[in-house]
């Protein structure tokens, strides 16, 4: 009887997960550009503190210890994870409105790949962080994560500016300036 209850619980958990994923995917189909923009987390991602040495100049120059404290430690990691998730949805949205433009779609596909790698790296780094091992590989990975995060942001920005300039008006309304 106990095993039947465990089986039922396992089945219910998976069913619940599958249904919630399905509902979320349906909601995602109806998302507008404004709704997506409102989800970008500007408060906690500490972009300003990271961006002084971004990839447009000479790469991330600051030491990993400083970088770790500037990004707000695990809070910053969570913010990066959530923001990249929103950026992935932005890319999804851009893909749906540029359905006939093959070159733009190939750029979007590459950007999505980069964003997924970034999210995966956040999970790996979180595991390192949980074990309190802030040495060697952790520092290397942190630097690579920030590099990738900026690449994703820059990629989406360039894509919007080049191919979807109409969407910038809504962005200005939401955040004031670019």
């Amino acid at each position: 009887m106990v095993s039947a209850i465990i089986q039922a619980l396992l089945a219910l958990a998976l069913m619940g997960g599958a249904i919630s994923v399905f509902v979320l995917s349906q909601k995602q189909k109806k998302e507008t550009w404004k709704m997506l923009l409102s989800k970008v987390n500007t408060e906690n991602c500490h972009l300003a503190s990271l961006s002084y040495g971004c990839i447009f100049s000479e790469g991330l120059q600051c030491a990993s210890d400083r970088l770790w404290s500037q990004m707000g430690r695990t809070q910053g990691l969570y913010a990066i994870y959530a923001n990249v998730g929103v950026l992935l949805r932005v890319l999804e949205y851009l893909e749906t409105i540029s359905i006939n433009n093959a070159s733009v779609i190939s750029s979007i596909v590459r950007a999505k790949r980069k964003a997924r790698i970034t999210r995966f790296e956040v999970i790996c780094i979180s595991m390192w962080a949980v074990t309190w091992m802030y040495q060697g590989s952790f520092r290397e990975q942190l630097g690579r994560l920030c590099d990738n995060y900026f690449t994703v942001i820059a990629t989406v920005s360039i894509l919007i500016q080049d191919e979807f300039p109409d969407l910038l008006d809504a962005y200005r309304e939401e955040f004031g300036s670019i």
Binding site: S3, L10, A11, L14, G17, S103, I105, L159
Partner: protein, 249 residues
């Protein structure tokens, strides 16, 4: 007699729906996306068709059920592996070896949990070999639920497009796996009741009926939504070249 008629109807439905789904995938050129799934559909078509003819002979039907289940396990394991590879495709080049090792460890872990859990249950109404077989069947069901939970979590981490085939397939297979295990739990519960024949029969047929519905829906979605993807690298924009420079950096 009435049970057999119902079984015949379901067994007719399985190859038809599987065939329709396979045809839809073939029409859209998607047979190569998850090849193991196509093999699995083909196997289901074949075994259901043979099962339909051997339904009146219980020994032949039982033998066929054994063989079909063993091949089914192999195919389902291959589907889960290929599905997980597709879901993790973006990061595969970055950390191929790590991903494979993690995947293997997860698969072994899922199956071990299933075996340990299933070994505690004894199906007293059947003889010894059949008891072992039912335990393996249950272990596989539990392992499948755990594996599909992991795959579904990965689809959320990588935020797969709602239109992509791996996303849809993992969603449908998750629903099916959950229903199968729930049906088993209902059967175990029904075994404790005095008159459980009807509940037992419904729980036995429910996953099959759901499978037919899900596979038909999947086939229709493939036909209705999925468009052939654009060729990568066709044409270039200024932003595309800048992006490549950024990636190299």
């Amino acid at each position: 007699m009435r049970d057999l008629l119902f079984d015949r109807i379901i067994l007719c439905w399985v190859p038809i729906t599987s065939g329709l789904c396979l045809a839809a995938m073939w029409k859209k050129g998607l047979l190569g996306v998850i090849p193991a799934f196509c093999w699995y559909l083909g196997l289901q078509m074949a075994t259901s068709a043979i099962g339909l003819f051997s339904l009146s002979n219980s020994q032949a039907y039982w033998d066929l059920y054994w063989i079909a289940s063993v091949f089914g396990y192999i195919c389902e394991a291959a589907v889960a592996w290929q599905l997980a590879s597709r879901v993790c495709e973006s990061v595969k080049n970055e950390m191929n070896c790590v991903m494979r090792t993690t995947g293997l460890i997860c698969a072994v872990l899922c199956f071990s949990i299933g075996v340990v859990s299933a070994r505690k249950i004894s199906f007293s109404m059947v003889n010894e070999p059949a008891n072992y077989f039912l335990q393996i069947d249950l272990a596989f069901d539990e392992a499948r639920v755990l594996a599909m939970s992991a795959i579904l979590t990965l689809t959320c981490v990588f935020r797969l497009s709602a239109r992509s085939i791996p996303f849809k397939l993992s969603l449908y297979l998750s629903i099916f796996s959950a229903t199968s295990l729930a049906a088993r739990a209902v059967q175990e519960f029904a075994a404790t009741l005095s008159d459980s024949r009807l509940i037992f029969m419904i729980a036995d047929l429910a996953p099959l009926i759901l499978w037919c519905i899900l596979i038909t829906a999947f086939g229709f979605e493939v036909l209705a939504i999925y468009a052939t993807p654009p060729r990568e690298g066709f044409g270039r924009t200024a932003s595309g070249e800048i992006l490549e420079t950024l990636e190299r950096h």
